[in-house]
């Protein structure tokens, strides 16, 4: 059998040769190879990870949706795009992402901060939404992490390292995100006095279960027929009525799901207000969580990661996740 050279196949070129577009190239040039630099999105979580170095040059990632393929359930978007704008584009095809929507919050900011939406129970965490990232590294190069497909195990998962890294590994310029269908129905209901653990055990449609120590809110999500059936079952656990979701206190605590479901005001000095995400473990509270201790081994690994990716410490100095 005679061997012949592989034919050129249709479609985009291989990832290694994929072109860096003008906007991304300009962003890389702006970041450059030296000097302290930090990236700013909408500034909605600007204080995250400690006060940034005021001497650091502030750059902003480019904006715009590059490519949306509804049948692939993926969208390629520049990191400076607001999540709200992105979701407006996606909604035209009945889709959205797992990224949280905050006024003026950007895609790059949401990824760098890594905080998931209060509907994480249904949407999944932000970290699972990032399929491919193109970022500018400490040397000013454009680096690609991940693959342009919904599934990939080609090499190390640098995307996971980027999400929540607060721009200390690289500055994200462009992201390929997994999208999800917007469900037929989404309805918030509330019941005073319901037991949050029972609701979690019972509900099959809850995309979010919030509990403030006395009332439970459920975001029932899915096909109308399922939501109706689910709410019918939930009636056995409390007097659920349509309601707006609760206002979330400003500080974010990270607990285990079990710990969040047994949270109490005693952990907030006796009189604090909180809203716990049941089944997830995030607790929104009116005062900050006491500092958590990282194990010495984990702390050492974190230091080594930072030192390997940013030896001079120029990326987002002053901040650490």
């Amino acid at each position: 059998m005679e061997l012949t050279a592989p034919r050129a196949a249709p479609g985009a070129g291989p990832g290694a040769a994929a072109a860096v577009d003008e906007a991304l190239a300009e962003f890389a040039a702006e970041v450059g190879p030296s000097g302290p630099v930090c990236v700013r999105g909408g500034g909605t979580r600007w204080c995250q990870g400690g006060p940034g170095d005021p001497e650091a040059r502030v750059v902003a990632a480019p904006a715009g949706v590059i490519d949306f393929e509804p049948a692939e359930m993926t969208v390629r978007v520049r990191a400076g795009t607001t999540v709200a704008d992105l979701h407006q584009t996606l909604a035209a095809a009945g889709q959205r992402t797992a990224l949280p929507v905050r006024p003026s919050g950007t895609v790059g900011g949401a990824l760098a901060v890594g905080e998931s939406s209060p509907a994480r129970l249904g949407l999944g965490p932000v970290r699972d939404a990032l399929l491919q990232a193109r970022y500018v590294d400490a040397e000013g190069r454009v680096v690609t992490a991940g693959a342009p497909t919904v599934k990939n195990v080609s090499g190390f998962d640098l995307c996971k390292l980027l999400v929540g890294s607060l721009g200390t590994i690289g500055l994200i310029g462009e992201a390929l995100l997994r999208t999800r269908p917007i469900p037929q129905t989404e309805r918030w209901v509330r019941a005073a006095g319901a037991d949050p653990k029972s609701v979690l055990g019972q509900s099959r449609t809850a995309a979010s279960i919030l509990w403030d120590g006395s009332a439970v809110w459920v975001l029932a999500s899915g096909y109308e027929v399922d939501v109706e059936a689910d709410l019918g079952e939930l009636a056995g656990l409390g007097d659920f009525e349509p309601a707006d979701p609760p206002e979330l206190p400003p500080h974010r605590w990270s607990c285990s799901p079990a710990s969040a479901a047994s949270f109490g005001p005693e952990r907030l000095g006796g009189d604090g207000r909180f809203v716990a995400e049941i089944g997830v473990g995030v607790v929104h509270a009116d005062r900050p969580q006491p500092p958590r201790q990282m194990s010495p081994g984990a702390a050492r690994l974190n230091d080594q990661i930072k030192a390997r990716f940013d030896p001079t410490g120029r990326l987002n100095p002053g901040r650490r996740p």
């Binding site: 999944g124 096909y223 027929v225």
Partner: protein, 495 residues
């Protein structure tokens, strides 16, 4: 693909051994004589995985029973400047467990306990040697399961799933292993134990858990894993759609996704796959079909019924000759039995097979399958397509007879061309089997030097001396320390 050569080398090395090696003596002192095997047979068994790749020769094979014993093995190996290669059930398909550089092999299958089922947090702490399906069996009484379900789930281990970030048919809706692991206890190459991730919603620091999962044994050895447990869906509908050709089956996949559904699974099997599966497993697939789709939707009763109706309509609109909905659990199990036994069925066709693994955008499925068929024809190799169509994850099976001269080379050439067409279509090298040695030298087709440099930085942050599973994943110019680690063993007794 140097199986015979390395097998022969292994036998010679085994015979040459005459007095206790100091490395073996140290390992025996730490683990006891029953937990260290250094004879030729044990080392031969540990020198292969389920792939066709057989580079390397195992050094002593250890069967640790605890995290402390894994630590001891790591420290002893470091003292003797030897690499360490972990292995689970050996079901890997990319040569990830191939023992390059005559390493100390750590077989983790003895650490197979469920340590704790924590229903309040919906997680279970398990040891890495626990078999995937056994985990789901152990939590079934609580109405829960472990979602990743690779075809090898009756044999593959959770540790191997973590190393490869394994998938399976149902990962379409539920996500791959990374989405189902909350925390991993890891022994690093210097013997230190560290817990990556945690049960809390947002563990502090970098997502080292996420970085570790899928690192193919290059970042350390998992000694305990906190897996997330998923509630069993109350309603499941499984359908089999038969088509005149693979192109219309592939078109259905894109149409279903574009309709706003994410089914639990969409598997495509081509005509040849249907024929060998029916011969082997009698799954009830129509033998005259040009291709079939196995589609599963789940959820609550109402939504599952709506989705099933939509799937039937879309399949018919895209040319399905028939769509059967499994009437009961027995019929559903039979339909899945065909899919899950596909690879075993191929043994009836040819004595050897190479199971490939690439990913393409869903919209490119039809043209890439056609291109794969042309490539196989050109090289005179039989190709059978059985794959996770819903996420574009191709698994062409190249069936062949390695006794025919030049056949192995033809299969390798066809395999390379399949990589080329997949990447040219905007795809990825591997969707679930990993890179291992199989695709190591293709990594620069998908990634730039800067991209690979960053992957190597991640690896070196975990293992600065590149002692863990050296010679895998990264092509050698991007992992210079590997060379030192591999060379260290050259003059050793076990070389």
């Amino acid at each position: 693909m140097t199986g015979l050569l390395s097998r022969a080398a292994g036998r010679v090395a085994g015979r040459r051994r005459s007095r206790p090696d100091p490395l073996v003596a140290d390992l025996v002192a730490a683990l006891g004589p029953d937990r260290v095997q250094a004879d030729a047979a044990a080392r031969y068994l540990a020198s292969r995985d389920a792939s066709i790749f057989s580079e390397g020769t195992a050094g002593p094979v250890c069967f640790p029973a605890s995290t402390e014993q894994v630590q001891a093995c790591m420290r002893i190996a470091a003292r003797h400047h030897r690499a360490v290669v972990p292995r689970g059930a050996g079901t890997g398909l990319s040569g990830g467990a191939a023992p390059l550089g005559s390493p100390v092999v750590l077989s983790m299958t003895g650490m197979n306990s469920v340590l704790e089922v924590d229903l309040d947090n919906r997680v279970a702490w398990v040891q890495p040697g626990l078999v995937n399906l056994e985990l789901s069996r152990r939590v079934a009484a609580h109405g829960l399961h472990f979602a990743p379900d690779p075809s090898s789930q009756q044999a593959c281990t959770i540790g191997g799933n973590v190393a490869n970030n394994s998938g399976g048919p149902h990962c379409l809706a539920y996500g791959v292993t990374s989405a189902h692991v909350a925390a991993v206890e890891v022994v690093l190459s210097d013997g230190e134990v560290v817990v990556l991730g945690g049960l809390e919603a947002e563990p502090g620091g970098y997502d080292l858990r996420g970085a570790f999962i899928g690192s193919e044994g290059l970042c350390g050895i998992a000694t305990a894993v906190a897996v997330r447990l998923t509630p069993n869906p109350p309603a499941v509908k499984t359908m089999l759609a038969a088509y005149p050709d693979a192109a219309s089956a592939a078109a259905t996949v894109g149409a279903v996704i574009a309709d706003g559904m994410v089914p639990a699974a969409i598997e495509l099997m081509d005509a040849r796959a249907v024929a060998v599966i029916e011969e082997f497993a009698r799954a009830g697939y129509p033998r005259d079909a040009g291709a079939v789709l196995l589609i599963e939707v789940d959820g609550m009763d109402g939504g599952a019924a709506i989705q099933a109706d939509r799937v039937v309509a879309i399949a018919s609109a895209n040319g399905a000759a028939s769509v059967r909905v499994a009437a009961d659990e027995a019929e559903r199990a039979r339909l899945w039995k065909g899919r899950k036994n596909a690879f075993g069925a191929v043994a009836n066709l040819e004595p050897d097979y190479y199971l490939h693994d690439t990913v393409v955008p869903r919209s490119k499925l039809a043209e890439v399958i056609e291109a794969v068929g042309e490539i196989a024809d050109r090289h005179g190799v039989s190709v059978i397509n059985v794959f996770h169509a819903g996420d574009g994850n191709l698994h062409p099976i190249l069936a062949y007879d390695s006794r025919i001269e030049g056949m192995t080379e033809r299969v390798a050439a066809a395999g390379e061309e399949i990589i080329e067409v997949s990447l040219a279509a905007g795809g990825a090298l591997s969707g679930e089997h990993g890179i291992g040695v199989e695709k190591r030298d293709h990594m620069d087709k998908m990634f730039s030097p800067a991209d690979l440099d960053h992957q190597n930085r991640l690896r070196q942050a975990f293992d600065p001396h590149c002692r863990m599973n050296p010679g895998k994943v990264l092509p050698s110019p991007h992992s210079c320390a590997d060379i030192a680690s591999l060379k260290a063993a050259d003059g050793a007794l076990w070389g």
